[in-house]
Symmetry: C2
Subunit: 214 residues, 2 copies
Amino acid sequence: MRLAELSKRSGVSTATIKYYLREGLLRPGRQVNATTAEYDEEHLRRLRLVRAMTQVGRMPVATVREVLGHVDDDSLGRTVRLGAALWALPHVAEPDTDDEHLQAAQREADELLRTLGWRNAELLTSISPAYRSLVVAVAAMRRLDYDWDAELLVSYARLMHRAAVLDLDFVETRETEAERVETAVLGTILVEPMLQALHRLAQEEESARRYGFE
Amino acid sequence: MRLAELSKRSGVSTATIKYYLREGLLRPGRQVNATTAEYDEEHLRRLRLVRAMTQVGRMPVATVREVLGHVDDDSLGRTVRLGAALWALPHVAEPDTDDEHLQAAQREADELLRTLGWRNAELLTSISPAYRSLVVAVAAMRRLDYDWDAELLVSYARLMHRAAVLDLDFVETRETEAERVETAVLGTILVEPMLQALHRLAQEEESARRYGFE
DNA sequence: CGTGCTTGGATAGTCCCGCTGACCAAGGAG
DNA sequence: CTCCTTGGTCAGCGGGACTATCCAAGCACG
């Protein structure tokens, strides 16, 4: 198919597709002659993937390029490749102040990991962006005087661990290694907004059950 | 305290504080004379709240203004006020194409709500942004040929419902109505990034348990 | 009393990001 | 041979979050 058809089938304007090509998010089509390039189903799928990442996952274009680069890089082993892809995902901004709240939050996070017995995660505390994000979020809550106990944090963590088990079970149903890496990345980028939507819907439901519509 | 001290204690530059004042995110200080304004602890707290929303919650300034407007509006009843605040939160972009995937996703979401028995949520399907977000996310997955069954979606939803119960239980520990509304909003804005961080940490942990570091 | 430093407020400018419109040369269709 | 379409290039735009500069009014101190 040519550019115009790729645009029509994906619902993305030709100008935007050209932009993605320039930015290296999409591989160039097979050049037929000087004025014609041929795109295939793989291009369409990749384009939809990019759109899912930018529109649903709200990811910046530069980050999409980086993540896709890791996904495509088959010189790496499975774990490294997956880790590299996942760690490139956007996370909360680095803390602008290194105050006592942040240090307290870090101790709290460490305590949480110990309680949960996440020994592997403990090894990663100094480098994992997810760990940094957690610390920043907890510090922000503490800064605002939220005084819920550590028990609540543990409960949330157990719930998310069960979600992670569901994710990985699904990843294992995939046939090829490439598919598994892509699924794992998608299983983070697309499942997260879904979990967020479900969380808010559940809040609305539970709130209505408790208090009605008053 | 004066502007400079507010800046120092919050870690936010005076230029940025002035910007927030202009944008109506922060109420002006008590004017002492033509060149001096006095700020109090309440200003500091509000500023930290704004920072949490923009930095941790990645919310645009315009949205923060809208949400805070609802939180401050005590002319409304509890449910309406809370709903207005929560619905103003950012959600995924509106779908650019209304194709068969979107309609299928909508049917799937309706089926999910029925299975879960979320009757209140069903009433809101036409207007709740969370419902729209869910549909968009599911449609994106389907467009990429992800073929997991409805059962998985139900499992995720049950997990998030349990998280919502934890949220609301905590909200009920608050004393005043104003505090409860603020807590509920924060309990969405700050808990969500926390859940996301925990989700990714849990994935790393579970992945390491299953496959080691290879 | 004056002089120079600080403070709060206003305005315009900067930088980044995700596109988008205008243009151009090379085909291919009639 | 002419004209329309196609893919590629490049400059520009619009929105968002700050930020640098300026200015006039105080206050502090010699």
